[in-house]
Subunit: 206 residues, 2 copies
DNA sequence: CCACATACGGACTGGCACGTTTGTTTTTTA
DNA sequence: TAAAAAACAAACGTGCCAGTCCGTATGTGG
C-alpha cells in the first residue's frame, strides 16, 4: 500500500473536493458530514479522524485549498497589481463560467455570519483571501475601482444560478462592462497564458 | 379584539418580517421554524396554521412580499425602463446600504438550488422578480447592460458581509462604476423621489 | 344565542445530523 | 519482529428540528 502521508493526503483531498462540489451544486444549507463522506467515498470515521471538529476543521482547509490553487496560478504570471488580478479573474469567469471555486468560498463566507464558531475558525483564511487574491492591504480601505470589480466578480459568479442564466449572455454582459472600465494594458498580454493555465488545471466541478 | 382577517394579516406579517431579519442577519442555514417563531413572537402552531408546509409555504410569501414592496415603490415613479430601474436600485443601495431586502431574496434563491421542493414552490415568484423588478422579458435573453447591472447590484449587496466592509467605501466604488456606465438622464431626475420613498418605508432591518 | 370556522398554543413523535466511543487494519519505528 | 502510532470503519447516544395532532379561545354567520 501507499505510505501513510500519501493516504492521508489523498483522503483529505477527496473530502475537500467533495465539499466544494456540494457547496457549488447545492449550497451550504445542503452540506452535511454524511453527504460529504458519501460523495468522497470515505467513512465518517475517516472524516472525523482528519477533521475532529467536523466542518469547523474542514471548511477552513477547503477555503485555503481553493485559495492556494488560484494564488499559485496567479503567481506563475509574475508580480501583479490588485487591479490586474481582478481583471484577470473577471476574464477567467467570462471565458469559463463552469470554473467556480469562488462560489464555494462565497457560500462559506456567507454562512459564517450566522455561525459564530465558523466565523472564528475561518477568519484568518478569509483575511488571506482578501490579501492574496484581491491585493487588499489589511489596515487600508479598499480602492474604489478594486471594490467595484470585486462586486462585479461576485455578482457574476452568482448569476450562474439564475433561471435566465446563459453563458454567452453573461459573457456579453461582462464584455460590455469591460469596455467601459478600461482594464490595464498588461492584462490583455497576460490573458492567453492565464486562460490556458485555468483550462489546464482540472475544474473543481465535473 | 380585532377582526379575524386583521389578526391573521398581522401574524403573517410578523412571521414574514422575522424570516427576512434572520435571512439577512444569519443566512438561510440558520433559518428554523423555532427561531422564526421566537423572533416573531408567535407560536409554532400559529406558523403551521398559516403556512402548513412550513418554509415551503412561508418563503414564497416572503419573496412576494419583498417584491411587492419594491415594485410598488417603483410603480409610484411612473413607467420605467429596465435600465432605469436597475440604476435606481443601485443608487438606492449606494445611499442606504442597510436596506437589504435583496439579500433575503438572494439567500432563498441560492438555497433553492439545493432543495428541489423549495425550487418548485418559489419558481413562479422568482420569475416574477425577474419580470417586475429587472424588466426581463420571459423568453428573451437578457440585455448585456441590464445583466451587468444586475451582477453589480448582487455583488454589492453581498459585500456588506465582507470583513473589510465600509459603507462609505462601497459608496465610492459604486460611484466610480456609475461614472463609467452612463446611467440614462431620467435617473438623476427621479433619484430624489426614489431615495425619499426608500427612506420613508421602514427598513426591514432594525 | 348557538353552531361553526378560524386563529392559536402546546405537546408528542420520528428522523436526521452531529459528537463520541470503540474496534480493526495498516504503516511506522524502535 | 514487536510495540506503537496512525488511518480508517462502524456503531451508539443525544439533541434538535420538522411534521403532526389535539385542545382551547375567539370571532362569525345563521
Amino acid at each position: 500500500m501507499a505510505t501513510q502521508s500519501e493516504r492521508s493526503f489523498l483522503t483529505q483531498n477527496r473530502l475537500i473536493r467533495a465539499t466544494v462540489d456540494i457547496l457549488v451544486e447545492q449550497g451550504y444549507a445542503a452540506l452535511g458530514e454524511q453527504r460529504i463522506c458519501m460523495r468522497a467515498g470515505v467513512s465518517r470515521g475517516a472524516l472525523r479522524h482528519h477533521y475532529p471538529q467536523g466542518r469547523y476543521d474542514l471548511l477552513p482547509n477547503v477555503v485555503e485549498s481553493l485559495l492556494d490553487e488560484e494564488a499559485s496560478r496567479m503567481a506563475s504570471l509574475g508580480p501583479l497589481s490588485a487591479k490586474e488580478r481582478l481583471y484577470l479573474m473577471l476574464y477567467g469567469l467570462m471565458a469559463m463560467p463552469k470554473r467556480q471555486a469562488s462560489v464555494a468560498i462565497l457560500e462559506i463566507w456567507m454562512a459564517a455570519r450566522g455561525d459564530a464558531k465558523l466565523a472564528r475558525c475561518t477568519q484568518a483564511v478569509f483575511d488571506d483571501v482578501l490579501v492574496r487574491l484581491f491585493g487588499h492591504v489589511p489596515g487600508q480601505p479598499a480602492d474604489p475601482e478594486e471594490l467595484a470589480l470585486r462586486c462585479l466578480l461576485h455578482g457574476a459568479s452568482l448569476h450562474r444560478f439564475s433561471s435566465d442564466y446563459d453563458g454567452e449572455v453573461l459573457q456579453a454582459s461582462l464584455r460590455w462592462a469591460m469596455e467601459r472600465l478600461e482594464p490595464p494594458p498588461k492584462v490583455s498580454q497576460l490573458l492567453p497564458t492565464w486562460l490556458e493555465s485555468a483550462a489546464r488545471t482540472e475544474p473543481a466541478l465535473a
